[in-house]
């Protein structure tokens, strides 16, 4: 009797243990379209948005395919340097599923804002994570990055790097300690768009404890601004990312009212890369934004 119960006990224990073991191996990630369970850490990964490439670079894994709009330079240098070569799978708005399938990925990371309509198809190719990319803010993106890290079984490594990043951000925040207002905007020959704290660059600026000249509320990420709005906003620092060679700013600078703006009197109008500040959206990009801010603000 005791023998039998001991046997039973052992059997149960082994079952328990093996279940436990299995659980330890499988990564379970909650994403925007449900839960994904991965038995083994994936190695062939296709990403369909830029901020996910950033997360992969942090985890030290190179994607096999990226929806890069057919232009490798759209991946910012700091990210590109950390990953190996990849295949383009077309544009982000209509990635070629054929090219994705041909790469035989074991994980696809797609933008839940943009690729909702092809989720079913993607799952037929490989397990798919749907995460927020478009309209993501700094804090949200860090959560997304941790989810990706969990899927890749690289949580330790990424958390360590995140710690470094957060130390850097905290350090910079302490040093900045500025009462001035900071604004990022993209400009083209068609107009200027102010990125509010609801946008990625705006939320990075806010994270660094820097003030926005915009009145809060509205919840809009991008605000179209004419010259009059810019005059009223009148930021102490203006960082602009250019989309075209000629911009409305060139014209506005000829306007007599230009000298009212604070940025006209001091070298506080800074041209930055729109790719880094607006397009990329990831932790490494945020770091680059922060360091760029530091190089201008700190003496």
């Amino acid at each position: 009797m005791t023998q039998r119960s001991a046997l039973l006990f052992f059997t149960l224990l082994t079952v328990q243990l093996s279940v436990f073991n299995l659980k330890a191996q499988a990564a379970v990630i909650n994403h925007d379209n449900g839960t994904l369970r991965l038995q083994n850490p994936p190695s062939r990964i296709v990403v369909l948005a830029f901020s996910f490439v950033d997360a992969l670079a942090v985890a030290g894994i190179s994607p096999v395919g990226i929806a890069d709009d057919g232009d490798k330079n759209r991946i910012i240098t700091s990210v590109r340097n950390q990953i190996g070569s990849w295949q383009s799978v077309g544009s982000r708005y209509q990635p070629s599923l054929e090219a994705v399938a041909a790469l035989k990925p074991d994980l696809i990371i797609a933008d839940s804002g943009r690729h909702q309509s092809i989720y079913q198809d993607l799952t037929r190719i490989a397990p798919t994570l749907m995460l927020k990319n478009r309209g993501v803010t700094y804090q949200e993106n860090l959560q997304v990055m941790l989810k990706i890290a969990a899927a890749l079984d690289k949580t330790e490594q990424v958390k360590k790097r995140l710690q470094q990043h957060q130390d850097l951000m905290r350090d910079l925040k302490k040093q900045f300690n500025s009462q001035a207002t900071f604004q990022f905007a993209v400009i083209s020959d068609k107009g200027m768009w102010l990125h509010s704290p609801e946008s990625y660059a705006g939320s990075v600026i806010a994270e660094l404890g820097l003030k926005s000249p915009l009145k809060t509320g509205g919840g809009e990420a991008y605000l179209a601004a004419g010259f009059e709005q810019l005059l009223k906003t009148n930021p102490d620092w203006l960082f602009v990312g250019q989309y075209t060679r000629q911009t409305v700013l060139d014209k506005w600078q000829k306007n007599p009212l230009w000298k009212i703006l604070t940025v006209s009197k001091s070298p506080q109008l800074v041209y930055v890369s729109a790719n880094v500040w607006s397009l990329a959206g990831g932790m490494l990009a945020a770091e680059q934004i922060a360091l760029e801010l530091a190089s201008h603000i700190l003496p």
Binding site: Q94, S96, L97, E98, A102, D121, R124
Partner: protein, 324 residues
């Protein structure tokens, strides 16, 4: 074999040929052998062939047929070379309501789009129908009113887009019309409608031919003109809306296919209908094949290509049209 049958047979073989081209070409180059073995046994390229290229070919053909038949019916009722679902505001109405859904709830399940599009398409058609009832304008003016309605709907869409700048891109793709990412799942909202409505349209086409003999003759032959018009218009709207719901507002197909068919087989609806359906299928299929293969792996929206293919041809038609 009569000339008509030869034309149909020719069109059909062209369609088959084009489907084969579409099946064998794409971002990933596969050998003929691989494609054939995949078709039969599945295997490595199963997704690319069986889940990606094949359903797109089917959907392209089906939407082409749907839009073309809808165009034939619209032109048949309104008796105007300009009438077509996209110019009459039907596509516009379907587009506006689907767009509203997309912009307000970007995360919504796509299965809500077809009912929304149907609703929009029918509202636009209802408006035009009421206009027709109240004012009884001449066919040419009705067509113009349709164009105005569709212009109005387009500016409503623009207004929405300006208010929701982040979603511009998805909405634009949808408005242009694209077969990207259309898998077998999209066949099901499409196929039942077509199976019912296309044969029904053949019946209607036969009656429309009787109408062309004059209202009195038609009446004597047992055709109720009023009821026929309502049924034909409703079928046209349903066909167009369903196609728009699945692929977005692909332009020029509904306008062009009937014209081309008329040029080939004369003016009897009974004859035009199959020819137009073939033409529509050819048009959408070639547009989508081009869209995939112009600059792989980049994909273009097929609607751009139907316009690029369709507009010059339409202009050519205008040039040689003598019946002003």
């Amino acid at each position: 074999m009569s000339r008509y049958n030869r034309i149909l047979a020719g069109g059909f073989s062209l369609l088959l040929f084009l489907s084969l081209i579409s099946l064998f070409s794409g971002a990933q180059s596969l050998t003929v052998k691989t494609v054939i073995s995949t078709l039969i046994n599945g295997g490595d390229a199963d997704f690319i062939i069986n889940q990606y290229r094949l359903p797109r070919i089917f959907i392209a053909v089906l939407t082409g047929i749907g839009l073309a038949v809808s165009g034939v019916l619209t032109q048949g009722i309104i008796r105007n070379p300009l009438a077509s679902p996209d110019l009459m505001g039907i596509s516009g109405g379907a587009g506006l309501s689907a767009c509203t859904v997309l912009l307000i709830r970007p995360d919504i399940n796509i299965s809500w789009l077809p009912p929304a599009a149907l609703l929009g398409g029918f509202s636009a058609a209802l408006f035009i129908w009421l206009l027709n009832r109240w004012h009884n304008p001449s066919p040419a003016r009705l067509a113009l009113a349709g164009i105005a309605v569709s212009a109005f709907l387009t500016s409503c869409i623009n207004f929405l887009l300006v208010l929701h700048p982040v979603e511009v891109n998805s909405a634009m793709i949808w408005l242009t019309g694209s077969l990207w990412g259309r898998s077998w799942d999209y066949i099901w909202p499409l196929l039942p409608w077509l199976i019912i409505l296309v044969p029904f349209s053949f019946y209607l086409a036969w009656s429309l031919d009787l109408c062309a003999l004059g209202d009195e003759t038609a009446g004597a032959l047992g055709v109720n003109t009023q009821r026929l018009q309502i049924m034909a218009l409703a079928s046209a709207v349903a066909l167009a809306s369903v196609c728009v719901a699945v692929c977005g507002t692909i332009s020029f197909v509904g306008l062009l296919a009937p014209h081309l068919a008329r040029l080939l087989v004369g003016s009897r609806h009974k004859l035009i209908l199959p020819a137009a359906a073939l033409t529509g299928a050819l048009l959408v299929l070639s547009a989508d094949t081009l869209a995939r293969n112009l600059a792989p792996p980049l994909e273009l929206p097929a609607g751009v290509l139907t316009a690029v293919l369709g507009a010059p041809y339409f202009i050519f038609l205008l040039h040689r049209y003598k019946g002003w």
